[in-house]
Symmetry: C3
Subunit: 217 residues, 3 copies
Amino acid sequence: MTLIQFLDYAGVAVFAATGALSASRKQLDIVGFAFLAGITGIGGGTLRDVILNVPVFWIGNHTYVLVCVAMAVLVFFTAHMVESRWRLLLWLDAIGLAAFAAMGTAKGLAITGSPVVAIITGMLTATFGGILRDVISGEPSVLLRPEVYVSAAGAGAVAYVLADWFLAAPGMAATIAFATGFIVRGGALWFGWRLSPYKTRPGRSPEEISQQSSRRD
Amino acid sequence: MTLIQFLDYAGVAVFAATGALSASRKQLDIVGFAFLAGITGIGGGTLRDVILNVPVFWIGNHTYVLVCVAMAVLVFFTAHMVESRWRLLLWLDAIGLAAFAAMGTAKGLAITGSPVVAIITGMLTATFGGILRDVISGEPSVLLRPEVYVSAAGAGAVAYVLADWFLAAPGMAATIAFATGFIVRGGALWFGWRLSPYKTRPGRSPEEISQQSSRRD
Amino acid sequence: MTLIQFLDYAGVAVFAATGALSASRKQLDIVGFAFLAGITGIGGGTLRDVILNVPVFWIGNHTYVLVCVAMAVLVFFTAHMVESRWRLLLWLDAIGLAAFAAMGTAKGLAITGSPVVAIITGMLTATFGGILRDVISGEPSVLLRPEVYVSAAGAGAVAYVLADWFLAAPGMAATIAFATGFIVRGGALWFGWRLSPYKTRPGRSPEEISQQSSRRD
């Protein structure tokens, strides 16, 4: 198994585990665990492949699906041992984010040859499984957290494109991209790194806005 | 019209009706009814076809769209006669879930030949229209309900694959799959059937977790 | 640049701006602005192209992506000058809705030749970017607002099909469709236009329903 294949399975496995942890927080049953694990583990790559118009990666290779089911079973029987499932979820999500930013960029670049498209497919692959997990399980999206998140996926994707440009060895480029993405997101979780946020004021609810002024103002 | 075609239209019709009922609970107008009916009725099958990379089923056959619009109009003018629109929604959703688990598995098996992929496309077809309906109309997802839901779709999908393996008559396999899915989900609604849920404790909100311990713990 | 191309870029730009405004209301950082701007700006057209099974429009032409990033930067540095970002978001969304209803219908008609499919792709293109924006940023969907929204997209789409039928000049048909969509949605925002909503009663929560009656009623 090459390093790139390993990163691919590792990304699916850890994202599947975050889906299963989210299922445990909602007290779903074992099939609910497997479903949410599967959606989270293969959702980002499915979107990537559909956008790139190539066969969806798990259709020709059942290992991905088995990995998701195995992680769901593992989490179902062990999650109670974890002190904070939410914090574990965030750290596994960081590993998955970094692995999928590398994989999604590699595949986008291999198929389209365009660094711009590759960075976008990298960021989408890295974030979309988590978005689906949070939307379906009714949690606030990880994207809305104050510390760096999408930026970490972007950093990993950009690192892949640069490394590929200068070094041309996919395994090395993927390693650099994974390390970059994980260091940025891990630093965000550990030290609370954040980019300067937009700061004047948070949004008001639509009701507040219409109370304050007539509809035509 | 074969039994399989009938199941297909019936699934679209009842899911469309659940979308329209959800629209009635949000007091949308008639176009909102039709839109939500359409998304719910054809959303699951659209995802299935996109993943399988075959032409989306309603593009070549307008009947599906007309069925959704007709159900939206019907519900718009009759929903006030129903004592509990929520309960009706759940029962229609159960019929649609069973029909689409059968259909989605049949199509996945016909196109890929893989039982594993077929079970996944069956489960996705059966659940995705309802997920879209709940997300767009801001309801908590049916997947999070305590009684059996995804498992019913899974039971129907597995029943199809087994019946196809032993009997090889698609109409018979679809009937068995539909019956299995509907009995499991209907039993869940009527008797409150549930699989043993994950039980140690529900998830805390992210705020509670960070109050309780420092970021690095 | 033809009028149709202009409408296309304009739609992407204004939808991207609404995504960035939504990011400002959530106090995201600049990468979060760009991500949400991109999802909102190109999400509807991406769904349209995936359903029509044609290459996704922004893969072969990077200008769309650059437009989204540019709008994100512009909004990041100027949004504080706006008195009500929510109201600005709604008006830009109205322009995007009208432009994408025209574009989505034109592309659907060009590729399938079917007015029914074209009206659906027009409505999906016009609404899906906004749905993604609202779901990801945790706002209630614009579709649930009481004044006309989906109907405006539908009016624009129907106007395109009729204009194409009688006049056959795509530029003219697109202009008429854009004007129709914008007048309907703009009138809804300005005058509060609404179609007769479904009115007996809003939905109760599932808990209220089960408290009131036993499960089997």
